[in-house]
């Protein structure tokens, strides 16, 4: 289990101090695939580097199974880094070594016997599906294959936690999918906790069970992925999950009464037709989208409610009675904006 307690990181730059992280509190349970998502510059990379102490936090603590990593000396940190390993956006393989020797490297650094390291490395290349590439050099492989080798390398020391720093951001969608499959497999088969740093919501929805949304160095929302998707509370979350929704909002704001309806796949009723019949409100759809997370579908609609404030209230009350739906009033009559 990894616990981040009141974690802050301050960088001193020539333009003055920069708050990269502010009072982060997170708990990552064993076996989780935990997503940390945010726009570029939100502090994701700094956060993940605090977990293996590549960056020392300015304030707060990182606990690995209850042990405060900040109190460990260099040698102990080097040992911890064999238990928390990492893969990267740019793969970071050694270009002058064969794949096999790349995978062997962490074991050799730890003083392992060469033949034992070679045996282990071969097993892992098998696991990631590249047994025939042992004697190839990284430059001879595609991006997806290089990331597989990097994953094998990260597994040689039999870690408890795998940190993935934008591990699929340099890959095309198909390869991304294959790499995420592999990571999920590793999580299931080997029971390794995975922490996924990404700016792509699609990555979180594909493999994560829990997610934290990072914005300007702070965790603005945290929870089960299904929970966060069906009921995104923070603006940053909505921006990430339904980027086109925020765009639509700004496009239509000031043009009537807008409400946002977020639903999950359990809603089977013809919502708008029913509302028209039962409340006599003829809402128009300004925008809509769906996302699938795991085996459930999530989506949103942006509705323009005609009439006055009483019509709006009627519509909202009616919608709120329907299970698995979240209603948020975005713009009231006369274009007054209110954000949840």
């Amino acid at each position: 289990m990894i616990e981040l307690r009141n974690l802050s990181k301050l960088f001193t730059t020539t333009d003055g101090p920069v708050d990269a992280l502010r009072h982060i509190n997170l708990t990552i349970q064993n076996g989780d695939i935990y997503g940390i998502i945010g726009m570029s510059g939100a502090g994701k990379s700094t956060l993940v580097r605090c977990i293996n102490m590549l960056e020392r936090p300015t304030e707060g603590t990182v606990l690995l199974d209850g042990v405060d990593l900040g109190t460990l000396n260099k040698k102990q940190i080097q040992q911890v880094r064999r238990r928390i390993t990492m893969i990267f956006q740019s793969f970071n393989l050694l270009m002058q070594r064969t794949c096999l020797k790349n995978v062997m490297l962490p074991l050799l650094l730890g003083g392992a016997d060469k033949s034992a390291a070679e045996k282990k490395a071969k097993e892992l290349l098998e696991l990631v599906g590249l047994p025939d590439k042992a004697n190839s050099y990284p430059a001879q492989l595609s991006g997806g294959q290089q990331q597989r080798v990097a994953i094998a390398r990260a597994l040689t020391t039999e870690p408890e936690v795998l940190l993935c720093d934008e591990a699929t951001s340099a890959l095309d969608p198909k390869t991304t999918h294959a790499i995420l499959e592999l990571i999920r497999d590793i999580n299931k088969k080997l029971g390794i906790t995975v922490i996924v740093i990404t700016h792509q919501m699609s990555v979180v929805q594909e493999i994560c069970n829990r997610v934290a949304i990072l914005s300007e160095g702070q965790v603005v929302e945290e929870g089960d992925v299904s929970e966060v998707f069906s009921n995104p509370r923070a603006n940053a979350t909505r921006n990430l999950i339904y980027p086109e929704m925020e765009e639509g909002m700004s496009l239509f704001s000031g043009r009537g009464q807008l409400i946002r309806v977020i639903f999950n796949g359990a809603v089977k009723e013809p919502l708008l037709a029913k509302m028209a019949v039962e409340c006599n409100i003829l809402a128009s759809i300004l925008g809509a989208s769906t996302r699938s997370v795991g085996d459930r579908a999530y989506g949103y609609m942006m509705l323009d409610i005609p009439g006055g404030p009483e019509d709006l209230a009627r519509a909202v009350n009616w919608l709120k009675k329907i299970p698995d739906i979240t209603v948020q009033v975005e713009a009231e009559y006369a274009g007054k904006e209110e954000r949840a």
Binding site: L54, R81, M86, F88, N92, Q96, L109, G110
Partner: protein, 236 residues
């Protein structure tokens, strides 16, 4: 100097005699002092170059900044003294090490002193070419600074180091020719003795041709070796 006389039958005959009698040993002397001076310079310059990169404040093993400043100033100082003057300046050191300041063996000392700061800078630039992400990856595996240098930085920069060492060895060979002016042996001494002092331009020209040929061979070999060792090139 009248270069036309170099091509008279008399000039050619003298050059031919000299080529047979004097050149083989002179070539040996040149190669001997060049190779040994380069090796000694690498022995001193390689670790120094590594320290210049790893010891800076953002490096993998920061050293006190006054020490780093001192090393940088020392290197710049040695690099800025012209070789011909440096040779005279280090005569006491040469005497202390070799026992004399004259001869091919003695010339290795000033050559080494002139070459190691150069090599240190070349090593520094080779190591700075390494993608910093790879070093971070090594740190994330729990590598110690020493392991990062030996297992990551140096192996990853082998092609670049070979290219730079080739540059160094050809430059040092140029210096050996200069050392002929102050008691060093080899092709430079031959060219100066016969060509300049005894007024035999044919030998001067011949010595230059031989130096050019040796330089070409070294350069081609170095380039070939660097390319062969580089695993980043997909086609081989």
């Amino acid at each position: 100097m009248n270069f036309a006389s170099a091509f008279t039958p008399e000039g050619i005959r003298k050059a031919w005699e000299c080529l047979l009698n004097e050149f083989p040993f002179a070539i040996w002397e040149t190669l001997y002092s060049t190779v040994l001076a380069t090796l000694f310079a690498i022995v001193i310059g390689l670790p120094l170059g590594v320290i210049l990169v790893t010891g800076e404040q953002k490096g993998i093993r920061p050293l006190p900044s006054p020490l780093m400043k001192f090393l940088n100033v020392l290197i710049n100082l040695l690099r800025s003294v012209p070789f011909i003057i440096l040779m005279v300046l280090v005569i006491p050191l040469t005497r202390a090490i070799v026992g004399t300041s004259v001869g091919t063996v003695a010339s290795i000392v000033p050559l080494t002193v002139a070459a190691f700061p150069f090599i240190a800078r070349l090593v520094e630039s080779s190591l700075r070419e390494i993608n910093p992400n790879i070093i971070e990856a090594a740190q994330s595996m729990g590598a110690t600074p020493w392991q990062i240098v030996v297992k990551v930085m140096l192996p990853e920069s082998v092609p670049s180091l070979i290219t730079n060492f080739t540059l160094a060895i050809t430059t040092i060979m140029g210096y050996t020719a200069m050392s002929g002016a102050v008691g060093g042996g080899g092709l430079g001494k031959l060219a100066l003795d016969y060509g300049y002092r005894r007024y035999m331009p044919s030998i001067l020209i011949l010595a230059v041709i031989v130096l050019v040929v040796i330089t070409q061979i070294m350069q081609s070999f170095g380039t070939w070796l660097a390319r062969k060792s580089d695993r980043r090139l997909k086609e081989k």
